[in-house]
């Protein structure tokens, strides 16, 4: 699984495929080769809303790279354009300027190579857990039904949901819904997983459990992932690379490689290394909050206060 990342010229293979020169077996072979993980390069993306004097920059000159099989965490103040960025990368919205490429090919219409796990749940309420998880492979119609089901049940078992296979989303707790949705995306082997604050709205305890669940799932497949969050501890705990975003218009302020060993375990949260990373990140975020505050941003006051509090906590812990 881990070595499937080497993808040569997917643009070429796509082109040949569309011409219909390949038989089914070859198509499947190419698809398998493309599965698992890709490399995404985002180059000076820009996005504005409104026009004339009401024009507002959401993203400006936003550049970064999602390395193959790495977990990249994006953190930034609320309202800095994180969700817009995800929407552009998934193909739900178009950028005004700049490019985003996946394995060399520009991103276009939404497809199963770039799957999003949304804030709060987007499980289809009218399908059972199993129905939701198998939906992607079922409508892609390129694998036999029993094989899909076997894989889905395997994944559900891994996240402790096998007993809930026939329950509807409304019967699941918040944490269960998040896990089901992660699995629904994962089963498609997207080349990039885009997670838009996936654990938002969960209580602190569930959130911690989810992070541990997620670490295990990620380790298993190592799919290239962009994980958006506004929680500093979650960010450092999960990141291979930590991207810090500026307060609108959104741009990457700094990319910090987090050099801690995998698998990540909760005890790392108290290591010196971890606290150093946290201080560095908090300083950068603090700067952004000050700027926002100076620009008379009403949310910024709360934001500052919150980060001020976390910071003092972390500094006193490191002493």
């Amino acid at each position: 699984m881990a070595d499937e990342g080497g993808i040569q010229e997917p643009r070429e293979t796509n082109r040949v495929w569309h011409k219909g020169l390949l038989n089914n077996q070859e198509k499947v072979a190419i698809e398998t080769a493309n599965e698992g993980s890709g490399k995404m390069i985002v180059d000076s993306l820009g996005k504005t809303y409104g026009s004339g004097p009401f024009r507002q920059y959401i993203l400006r000159d936003c550049s970064f790279v999602l390395e193959e099989q790495k977990l990249t965490i994006l953190i930034g103040p609320s309202g800095c354009g994180k969700s817009t960025l995800i929407n552009i990368l998934a193909g739900y919205e178009e950028a005004d300027s700049g490019t985003a490429t996946l394995d060399g090919a520009p991103v276009g219409e939404p497809n199963k190579d770039r799957l999003v796990v949304f804030q709060e749940t987007a499980l289809f309420p009218w399908m059972t857990t199993l129905g939701n998880v198998t939906y992607g492979p079922r409508v892609q119609r390129n694998r036999p039904k029993d094989e899909i089901e076997t894989e889905a049940l395997g994944l559900l078992e891994k996240v402790g949901l096998e007993e809930f296979r026939d329950k509807y989303p409304i019967q699941l707790s918040g944490g269960m819904q998040r896990r089901a949705e992660l699995v629904r995306a994962m089963i498609n082997n997207p080349r990039v997983m885009l997670l838009d604050e996936p654990f938002r709205g969960l209580d602190a305890m569930t959130r911690e459990l989810m992070q541990e669940h997620y670490v295990r799932l990620f380790e298993e497949r190592r799919q290239t992932t962009l994980f958006v969050t506004s929680e500093i501890d979650e960010a450092i705990f999960l990141a291979d690379t930590l991207l810090i975003m500026t307060n609108g218009p959104g741009r990457i302020k700094k990319s910090i490689p987090i050099d801690m060993p995998w698998p990540r375990t909760p005890d790392m949260l108290t290591s010196m290394e971890y606290l150093r990373y946290k201080e560095e990140a908090l300083d950068l975020l603090h700067e952004e909050a000050l700027k926002a505050f100076a620009a008379d941003n009403k949310i910024a006051a709360d934001f500052l206060e919150a980060y001020e509090a976390t910071k003092t906590e972390s500094v006193s812990a490191s002493r």
Binding site: A90, K112, L115, Y135
Partner: protein, 266 residues
């Protein structure tokens, strides 16, 4: 062996004789008792109202006559005919209006002008327009259910959470998957709401239309009883209409519950 049986029996007993049911029974008994006394002692406004005891004897007589049941079936027939056609045309139209801006732009203004016209205001035009009375009644019934279903389907389809559509697109749905596996189930609850409301309107309309133009049906029966001066039969007619409406609505609720199992899990 003994305990599950006796406990489930006990549950059933508790359910049947629950406080809610008892309250309902008490309310009905008291109303009937009041009605009986009011008629017997000729309270103001009640002087010409036949007491329930006399109505009951007419009920027995009506239930034995074939004509009475023919009135039931002809009203039901009209309601089902008009209602079903309204669904067949209304549901696809509502979905089209929600999904296609051109169709929405062309139909919505006309729709909004015609919608506030009460179905009964259509009766004269309808009688002139359609060749037979039967068709004109069916048309008016159709209108009663049609506008309601279209508005509900349109509203339901427009308020589908964008994330479902986005997720479905990303996961690889083609157009037919999108329609049959995402949009249709998402709109289903609104369809059944529209049907339940529409069914209520349909009964109001059929009765009035039968009084104006019908030669049969429960509305006709009630009106004819009034013309013939048979007061107890008026009340039998009224209660029949109430029961018929209740039966129809219950059927729709039942089908609705069966078709949207994910909604009744609280």
């Amino acid at each position: 062996m003994k305990s599950p049986n006796s406990s489930s029996l006990k549950k059933l007993f508790n359910k049947i004789f629950s406080k809610a049911v008892l309250r309902g029974i008490v309310a009905i008994v008291f109303s009937i008792a009041f009605w009986e006394t009011a008629s017997r002692f000729a309270f103001p406004l009640f002087a010409f109202v036949p007491p329930p005891s006399i109505v009951l004897s007419v009920v027995g007589e009506s239930f034995g006559s074939l004509v009475f049941w023919e009135n039931w079936t002809s009203s039901f027939g009209r309601v089902i005919f008009g209602f079903v056609i309204a669904q067949i045309i209304g549901i696809p139209l509502g979905l089209l209006m929600a999904n296609n801006r051109n169709i929405h732009g062309m139909t919505f203004p006309i729709f909004e002008i015609l919608r506030p016209i009460p179905p009964l205001a259509w009766v004269p035009a309808s009688i002139i327009f359609w060749p037979t009375t039967e068709l004109s009644i069916a048309f008016v019934i159709f209108l009663g259910a049609f506008f309601t279903i279209v508005i509900n389907v349109l509203g339901g389809a427009k308020s589908i959470d964008a994330r479902y559509i986005r997720a479905a697109r990303s996961l690889g749905s083609n157009r037919s998957d999108m329609f049959f596996r995402i949009i249709l189930p998402a709109v289903l609850p609104s369809i059944f709401t529209g049907m339940a409301v529409g069914m209520g309107i349909t009964w109001e309309v059929v009765v009035a239309a039968e009084m104006i133009a019908g030669k049969s049906g429960l509305g006709y029966y009630t009106w004819e009883s009034y013309v013939g001066g048979n007061f107890p039969r008026i009340i039998v007619g009224m209660i029949s209409i109430g029961l018929a409406g209740y039966i129809s609505s219950s059927m729709i609720r039942l089908i609705g519950k069966r078709s949207t199992p994910w909604l009744r899990l609280f």
